[in-house]
């Protein structure tokens, strides 16, 4: 035999290494135990079951989630948005879900007009937008704003900290992620889904560049079924519930 499939190699190694950067409810990390949850983490565990190997989560940041995949530090990256530029560096599975970007902010913040609805409404000089560096929302918002300042921070922790500490005015993140944030800070945090939408992209597994079409297909077929049966939606609901429960 000339070429052995990538996943056979993973089976030989016995562990499936998943690069994980935090973005609730997609990927969450329990600070007390260091364990991962969230629906993409769950999907990963299920894929590991299919391969009959143990999943292993490798801590990383959004900045490095593509670089780490390129560097062979893990076998797949969790919750990666499908964008053309990324596709030149790594491969993608089919999307597990669609996502869109929302803007979360402090409702007492005078810089944000009451009726703000579009990106243009908030795109003013002096307004700071916090975003996780290297994410799809980073790319999208950077392309969309002209006057506001984009503040790129390494992770979910820092972006939320920036808005909480008023270092930034608006938190640009996936709408699901932001929803969790506003729900756990109901006193002051609100979110808006800008119209027209900033980006509608699929969220998928990122896969190494050198994977063969057959290897990619393994993941695609796995996901196809999970999406079609509504299993993914169940997982999302469970993750959101977990977060909201934890916040209380």
């Amino acid at each position: 035999q000339t070429t052995e499939g990538y996943w056979q190699g993973v089976q030989k190694a016995g562990t499936l290494r998943c690069g994980a950067a935090v973005a609730p409810p997609y990927v969450m990390r329990d600070p007390a135990t260091g364990e991962y949850s969230g629906f993409f983490a769950d999907l990963c565990k299920e894929f590991a079951d299919v391969l009959k190997v143990k999943p292993e989560f490798v801590d990383t940041t959004w900045d490095n989630i593509v670089a780490g995949l390129q560097a062979g530090k893990w076998d797949l990256s969790l919750a990666l948005n499908r964008t053309p530029t990324r596709a030149m560096a790594v491969q993608f599975s089919i999307p597990a879900m669609e996502y869109q970007i929302s803007l979360a902010y402090n409702k007492n913040n005078p810089k944000i007009a009451a009726g703000a609805a579009s990106v243009a409404d908030i795109d003013k000089a002096g307004v700071t937008l916090a975003v996780m560096s290297g994410t799809a929302q980073d790319k999208a918002i950077s392309a969309a704003v002209k006057n506001a300042t984009v503040m790129r921070l390494p992770g979910n922790d820092e972006t939320r900290l920036a808005v909480t500490s008023k270092r930034a005015d608006i938190l640009v993140d996936a709408s699901d992620t932001n929803q969790l944030f506003t729900q756990s800070n109901p006193e002051w945090a609100v979110a808006l889904n800008p119209t027209p939408a900033l980006a509608k992209q699929g969220v998928a597994f990122g896969l190494p560049h050198n994977l063969s079409a057959a290897d990619v297909e393994v993941v695609d077929i796995f996901l196809e079924e999970k999406v079609a049966t509504g299993h993914v939606d169940e997982l999302i609901k469970k993750a959101v519930d977990d977060v909201l429960k934890g916040a209380k």
Partner: protein, 221 residues
């Protein structure tokens, strides 16, 4: 705003786990880094020009660039270049060991240089063989003189190790930020994290001055 440090009690284990990672990383890199530093220190005083140039370039480069960029480079570039997979832990160890090696090699070089020529003259006058000169005279003095600075280097390494959080290693700093996000209590968490670093580093710096005094007295330098 009102501060509430009690929420941290819930995360005692997490902080300890992060600290454990920090300490593990620090200790491993101290051992490897000192060994590397000693060898490089010897190379830098060698008569061989190539050895001297290579070791000099290594030291100057690592002392002349931010540790953060060294970490990024070793985490994401080295595996690509070498074509091998390196785990986070291995990458972290490589990066911090190279950093530690560069700074300790300077320490060893200085302590080797501080052994006066008279000591070597005395060795020759006593007819000591080369091996005894190195093993019984030069080495013990060089190590003794290097100890205080080596300890300071260890404290520096301990502090610099916090940077691995930026490449996603779950050390004390990383865990701290993680908790602060989950609890929305950054002030309390970050303050406690800073205090933990302080509580470990401060006694070490005190020890440095104590030991320095002793060694200076003993060697009457």
């Amino acid at each position: 705003m009102t501060l509430d440090f009690s929420i941290l009690l819930r995360f005692e284990n997490a902080l300890l786990l992060g600290l454990w990672m920090t300490l593990k990383l620090t200790v491993i890199c101290i051992v490897l880094g000192c060994t590397l530093g000693f060898l490089v220190g010897l190379m830098r005083t060698s008569r061989n020009l190539a050895l001297r140039a290579a070791s000099g370039a290594y030291v100057e480069f690592f002392r002349g660039t931010p540790v953060l960029i060294q970490l990024f480079w070793i985490f994401f570039c080295l595996p690509l270049l070498l074509g091998v997979e390196l785990s986070n832990m291995v990458s972290g160890v490589i990066a911090l060991t190279l950093y530690m090696g560069a700074i300790t090699s300077e320490t060893f070089r200085a302590s080797l240089k501080s052994i006066g020529r008279e000591q070597l003259d005395a060795c020759v006058a006593l007819g000591l063989p080369k091996r005894a000169q190195v093993v019984n005279v030069v080495l013990p003095q060089a190590v003794l003189r290097a100890i205080p600075t080596l300890l300071s280097n260890c404290v520096s390494l301990f502090k610099e190790s916090a940077l691995v959080s930026a490449v996603g290693m779950a050390d004390l700093m990383f865990v701290g930020q993680n908790i602060s996000n989950n609890t929305a209590r950054p002030v309390e968490v970050l303050t406690v994290v800073a205090l933990i670093y302080f509580v470990i580093a401060f006694p070490l710096t005190r020890a440095v001055s104590l030991i320095e005094g002793r060694i200076l007295k003993k060697l009457a330098i």
